[in-house]
Symmetry: C2
DNA sequence: ACAACGTATAAGTAACTGCTTATATATTGA
DNA sequence: TCAATATATAAGCAGTTACTTATACGTTGT
């Protein structure tokens, strides 16, 4: 559920990795260049993101290419949707739209 | 920023408290009845929720009445909005709407 | 005034988390 | 075939977190 997503994105490094991965594909060592933590730390963060549906791995020989899965955010978005009723009026139209959308399929 | 919100809601008990507080006002001891943790634990969770704008306290004598502040979720919602571009087409209309909305005012 | 009540704070603890270094596994190029 | 490379896993550690019990603080009814 959305609690796991929140937990995953509640870490600064992991959030930054996810944001990067949504812009383009990165290999683990590429990612490592951009952060102040070791390669194993990056791999561990990628594992967390992958397990909760926020990243996808594409193996190519000894390289592991990762990319973000923003669709993985949808459970969180749907949860948030329950609280829109309390917000200013204009925003309420959003609810209806979201309800019409199909659920996420494959991970 | 939205990372603090995620951290706050990344705990199951705290998330459940928040959800309750969005339905109606509760005193601390009322809340305590509904959870398997002690009164101080509840007070601590309420402190976290309050500090990140997800709850509001109303003092009345020796009673502290808490209620949820779903508007406090808006930074998270706005962050999520950046990722809508990756989702199925219909949803894109949401972005425009959100951008027209005024920012949150008082806490 | 004072005992009971409602809540917050203090202090300690066990579990979790994010990191590290060391090492294992797999793939590639020479 | 073998050394170098890319990544994952293991093990350990320090900091954080969610809880506990004990206690302090303020308010209320008698």
């Amino acid at each position: 559920m959305q609690m796991e997503l929140m937990k995953a994105l509640g870490d600064g490094t992991r959030l930054a990795i996810f944001e990067r991965l949504c812009k383009r594909e990165y290999t683990v060592s590429e990612l490592t260049l951009h952060f102040d933590v070791s390669q194993p730390a990056i791999s561990q963060h990628l594992g967390v993101l992958k397990r909760c549906g926020l990243a996808r791995e594409r193996r190519a020989g000894r390289f592991a290419h990762y990319r973000g899965r923003p669709e993985g955010l949808r459970p969180m978005m749907q949860w948030l949707d329950h609280y829109r009723q309390f917000w200013p009026e204009k925003i309420n139209a959003l609810s209806a739209m979201l309800k019409e959308m199909p659920d996420e399929k494959g991970k």
